[in-house]
């Protein structure tokens, strides 16, 4: 086991990619992910990592280069954020639809206008339906672990899909924490070099990728991706179980905190789950039976696990760093609500947008959301609506 080191969120992603022994990195710098690819460029320049670092002129090109390299059988990594992810948008679909196991770190950043370099999840939610596996990290250790294991999940023959590892811009990307990485030997034992598929691009075996998809074929093609994405839950559980045996750090699709006997559950993703834990502790001290359900895997959405975790609660407060203008609720709130719809007895669900454009979801914010949700439930309101929690009146 490697010794504990102090590591910044971004550099945890870089180190994970290095230990995954990636073959190709194609990237364009953008705040707040720049340090991820900067460190990787340094590894390559210093001869510590035998990889091709392709400096491109845009994120659109970055993902395009990743796609070609991955189609040729390379293990590929990139990173982006905010506007960069938006510029990649159309190519993200091609990566997933072409079933390429690319791993990408997204240091989540809000979208313009007005120019905002700070964190929220609106960037990745804009690409929610691109067909990528989506994981959300809470700590620097989790950035490392999720990025490293993402390769194993992505490259599983049952999956063959790209994975986005989300780390909140600044609050996590620039956070320095003690991290226990892996030794290179441990890493290569757990994650051997990518097995090159028989259909990989090669001059001697011409294969056409992305040919015209006629109406007679397109539905089946898209359904194939859906089936593969749904398999990810089982594959990730298996990968994380093996990883847990190696590291002692156990991961699952969702993570419950003090949910035993909880009447109100906070549901959140990303770095502010730490503040939510503190909010749960404070509420419990005040006699409010609160708990937290952290969503680690957002796509495929772990609906069964969410239903199971929330089946006993009276109230649910979904607090998300995103919104969906004109929709009935934000993306995560909508997913939680639709998961619960099949249940004969449903808790009251209130959704909240908070932590937008770099604002923190503080302990008091999380506690406030939980209490509002509980109040709605006690008033017999099944749908607590969707509220912009921190907006000034």
């Amino acid at each position: 086991m490697a010794k504990r080191i102090a590591l910044e969120g971004c550099h945890a992603a870089s180190l994970a990619a290095k230990l995954a022994n990636v073959d190709v990195i194609a990237a364009y710098p953008i705040t707040p992910q720049t340090q991820i690819v900067e460190r990787l460029a340094q590894y390559v320049a210093d001869g510590e990592l035998d990889a091709e670092f392709i400096g491109v002129e845009s994120e659109h090109s970055a993902m395009s280069a990743c796609i070609a390299a991955s189609a040729a059988g390379a293990r590929v990594f990139t990173a982006t954020a905010g506007q960069g992810l938006a510029l990649m948008h159309e190519v993200l679909y091609i990566a997933a639809g072409s079933r390429l196991p690319i791993v990408m770190a997204v240091a989540n950043r809000s979208l313009s206008p007005n120019l905002n370099i700070w964190g929220d999840h609106t960037d990745i939610m804009g690409s929610r339906d691109a067909g990528w596996v989506q994981l959300f990290a809470e700590s620097v250790q989790e950035v490392f672990d999720l990025t490293f294991t993402a390769f194993k999940i992505a490259e599983d023959e049952e999956v063959m899909l790209p994975v986005a590892v989300n780390l909140d811009g600044f609050h996590l990307s620039h956070l320095v924490e003690a991290v226990e990485p892996l030794d290179p030997e441990e890493a290569s034992r757990f994650l051997p070099p990518r097995r090159v598929p028989s259909y990989a691009l090669h001059p001697r075996r011409p294969v056409t990728w992305g040919a015209v998809s006629v109406p007679e074929v397109h539905t089946e093609l898209k359904y194939q991706l859906e089936v593969a994405l749904r398999r990810v839950k089982e594959v990730a559980r298996r990968v994380w179980k093996d990883y847990g045996e190696l590291t002692g750090r156990l991961y699952d699709l969702v993570e419950a905190y003090r949910m035993e006997g909880a009447e109100v559950a906070l549901v959140m993703m990303g770095c502010f789950c730490g503040n939510a834990r503190e909010a749960v502790d404070r509420l419990r001290r005040r006699g409010v039976k609160a708990g937290l359900l952290k969503i680690r895997m957002y796509r495929p959405f772990p609906a069964e696990e969410v239903v199971e975790a929330l089946k006993e609660v009276k109230a649910v407060a979904v607090v998300e760093r995103a919104f969906s203008p004109g929709a009935t609720a934000g993306p995560l709130t909508s997913d939680v609500k639709s998961s619960l719809y099949s249940q004969p007895s449903r808790p009251s669900v209130s959704g909240f947008a908070a932590g937008i454009g770099g604002r923190e979801i503080g302990v008091e914010d999380a506690a406030d959301a939980a209490l509002r949700a509980l109040r709605a439930a006690e008033q017999g309101v099944l749908d607590g609506g969707f509220t912009y929690l921190q907006v000034r009146g």
Partner: protein, 104 residues
């Protein structure tokens, strides 16, 4: 991963299980089976062998590789693939190619 030839996909209507991963076209060179000549909109090129100087300009410009050079060096059109765009007639310096009515 059953169907290998792209052109068969629409006819065979494979299930999602039978479709190669990402609907990859695993067998190269099968576009020759696509009878794109069916796309012509009424006009087709006709080469007048007596005017043709065998300069290869039409052959070089044809976007569909539909100018055929025979064993005797004569030039003709592959009507199974020619889309009738008329570029050959336009570029021919000897006015040896004329766009004529398809069924004229």
């Amino acid at each position: 991963m059953k169907p290998r030839r792209w052109l068969k996909l629409a006819d065979e209507k494979p299930s999602w299980r039978e479709l190669p991963i990402a609907a990859l076209v695993l067998e190269p060179g099968n576009m020759v089976e696509a009878r794109t000549g069916e796309w012509r909109m009424g006009l087709k090129p006709s080469i007048d062998g007596s005017r043709c100087q065998r300069c290869y300009i039409c052959w070089a410009f044809c976007p569909d590789a539909s100018i055929i050079i025979g064993g005797d060096g004569s030039f003709s059109v592959d009507y199974a693939h020619c889309k009738g765009c008329g570029i050959c007639a336009k570029v021919c310096p000897y006015k040896a190619i004329e766009m004529v009515e398809e069924h004229g």
